[in-house]
Amino acid sequence: MFDLDFILDRYNYWIVILLMMTGLYIVISRGNLVKKIVGLNIFQTSVFIYYISISKVAGGTAPILIGDYGGGHHDEPHAAEGSVAGETLHAAPAGAPPGEANDLAEALRATPPSGESGVAGLHDAPANPPIVEPSAAAPGFETAPGDAAHGADALLHQAAEIVYSNPLPHVLILTAIVVGVATTAVGLALAVRIREAYGTVEEDELEAADNVAEFGDRAEEAAA
């Protein structure tokens, strides 16, 4: 009925939700424009954390090439092996990939998106379980909450016996961070300009000043 483990296992989502609501509350409730921008930042940060936490593969390390990759002549067979190994690990439920899937795109596309991976991972497995020592590569992979991209990414490097986290959300969120910084910059610049034009950055006072301007115009019209 009330499953405490179910809730605690998903602590990363609770962090995200808490931050998101805090940020949104600040944006709505604070009258100071700078505080609004800060609230907006917290709101955006929650999304960054969400993206980063879903990209985490249990026991996975940062997506940086480690170990002997000299020459690069191993790469092709590795990919092929990886996809085959991945199949057996995932016990591919449907749409098993062609055996000769030796190119990256093919391997990624063929990885089953649904079934045991994907959303099932979200519900049945803790999305961010305690980190397992990355030494045991294959078991670590099995506990991964991988969606298709996780799985594919991890199985690509399976042959190298290293588990990587999914780098794609990291890249996406780097872009989103840049957008967030730009938004903050524009917002603060606007706050500076508002302060120059009105002499205040408090929303109530701004509204009052605008109302005076409006009524001033009305008075002028009546006189004319």
Partner: protein
């Protein structure tokens, strides 16, 4: 030449994007403007060529950086976004020449390079949102266009300092919308592990009851609804449109919300697809009522506005209601009605805001009192306003009539005769608010004293020509319906077919 043609799909984004920083380097004033105008025309040529190509040869896919989709970012152009591309770049090609005099009067000369740079970036963003086939890419381009729009709106501060607060509010609302959108994309990615729209659609099959997908859908819908100013999330729009520099108002009123509508259509039908049960509920219980309420509420508020630009802005919110109504029917006819009105509303609102910009140029005022007796002082502008106003109302012979006719047909076909009645009833409100201004312009005497009494000339030719080209488009496409309506119907057919409606 062939090499260039192969790269055609990416040109509408690359040309203005590369040109925008270059515009900063040009000497301020006329050279910047000439350069930006030239760029906008080039972009329009590329978009028109693309639309012609798609119209005769079917959808085009372009793999950015030669990374094959679904891994790489795909630009995918079919009829639906081909039409929107042509609309955005076409409006831009008219607004840029139009902007020169208006910007000279309303923006500091020092700022003109920044102004044209921001306008080019805004255009890039809107075109990018339209052209891309990658869900996350939509977010990036949406923010590119939004960020530049915030800056552009704030540049209206020289005329009225309220532009600053309007821009700030727009920034807060727009960022919340974009962030909700990106949460939705994240949830979708969590569920299916891909970002390519077509690929998401394939992998979503059979995941109708998945709560993550449903939450993602809701986040995306609310996020985009904020961007397209769906009633009751429109509060940022009236001030932003009213206090922005007039040329900017003309551009964003005709394009920005339309592109957001397109994003909604794209996500509804290409990403989630017709057989996604949740979509039907969202259409019937959210979009339909909000669209209908928006039609009335925003139009009624428009009637009581003192400022003509603000009135037109509220009218935009009302017109979005028609588009959403068409969309919410969930039928092929409904979607094509929405697409037709996206284009037609861009044409009429662009022309109306341009007429308002002419008045602001000569009288430095956009309130009703500036419009008194305008027919005698600026007859050419007045008639442009009246004709595009008639188009907004939906008088036969104009594009507004075509939109409403197709929308009425769609509502009858879907069995919502009451909605058809409401469409006609809310059009009568448009008669009131447009008629009110027309009465001021034609029947009233020009003010005899006060700051507005000065003798004024007609607007310069560089503004009249683009404005009348838009008015002419309003009339031409009102009579030759096969082009807009025909294309939109084909686009809707293709969308619905791909989404599995039949």
């Amino acid at each position: 030449m062939n090499a260039l043609l192969a790269q055609l799909p990416v040109l509408p984004v690359v040309i203005p994007f590369v040109a925008a920083p270059l515009a900063l380097l040009t000497p301020k004033g006329r050279p910047t403007w000439a350069f930006a105008t030239f760029v906008s025309w080039l972009t329009f040529i590329a978009s028109a060529a693309l639309l012609a190509h798609v119209s005769s040869n079917g959808a085009v896919s372009y793999a950015l950086g030669d990374w094959a989709p679904p891994l790489g970012i795909e630009y995918r152009i079919d009829l639906a976004n081909g039409i929107v591309l042509a609309l955005v770049s076409g409006i831009a090609a008219l607004v840029f020449p139009f902007a020169y005099e208006s910007v000279r009067a309303e923006v500091d000369e020092k700022q003109t390079p920044f102004f044209y740079c921001a306008l080019l970036i805004c255009m890039t963003g809107l075109l990018g949102v339209t052209i891309t086939g990658d869900a996350f890419n939509v977010f990036v381009f949406l923010e590119i266009s939004s960020l530049s729009t915030y800056a552009l709106v704030a540049m209206g501060a020289r005329r009225d300092r309220r532009a600053l607060t309007a821009a700030f509010n727009y920034l807060v609302m727009g960022t919340i919308g974009a962030t909700l959108f990106v949460i939705g994309i994240g949830l979708l990615y969590h569920a299916v592990g891909t970002l390519n729209m077509a690929d998401i659609h394939v992998k979503l099959a059979g995941m109708d009851d998945n709560r993550v997908v449903q939450a993602g859908f809701a986040f995306i819908m609310v996020g985009v609804a904020l961007k397209l100013a769906m009633f009751p999330m429109h509060l940022w729009l009236p001030n932003a449109y009213a206090y922005a520099p007039s040329a900017v108002s003309a551009f964003i009123a005709a394009t920005a919300t339309k592109v957001a509508v397109y994003v909604l259509v794209r996500f509804f039908y290409t990403v989630f697809g017709y057989d996604f049960d949740f979509l039907a509920n969202a259409l019937t219980y959210v979009l339909l009522p909000l669209g209908v309420i928006g039609m009335f509420a925003a139009s009624l508020v428009a009637v009581f506005q003192e400022d003509v630009k603000r009135m037109l802005a509220y009218s935009s919110v009302g017109q979005i209601g028609y588009i959403l109504l068409g969309l919410s029917l969930g039928t092929e006819a409904g979607v094509s009605a929405a697409l037709v009105h996206v284009v037609n509303h861009g044409l009429m609102k662009g022309a109306l805001f341009m007429a308002a910009a002419c008045v602001v140029l000569r009288l430095a005022d956009s309130r009703c009192r500036a419009f008194h007796g305008l027919a005698r002082r600026m007859p050419v502008t007045t008639w442009a306003f009246i004709l595009s106003g008639l188009s907004l109302i939906g008088v036969p012979g104009t594009v507004g009539f075509v939109s409403k006719w197709i929308l009425l047909q769609a509502t009858f076909e879907a069995g919502h005769a009451w909605a058809a009645f409401l469409v006609v009833a809310s059009s009568l409100i448009a008669v009131v608010y447009i008629g009110r201004i027309v009465e001021l312009m034609v029947l009233r005497e020009p003010p005899s004293e006060g700051p507005l009494a000065k003798p004024i000339r007609e607007a310069p030719l560089s503004m009249l020509v683009p404005m009348w080209l838009l008015v002419a488009a309003n009339l031409y496409f009102g009579l030759r319906t096969d082009f807009t309506a025909g294309l939109a119907v084909r686009a809707a057919e293709a969308l619905m077919l791909a989404s599995g409606a039949r």
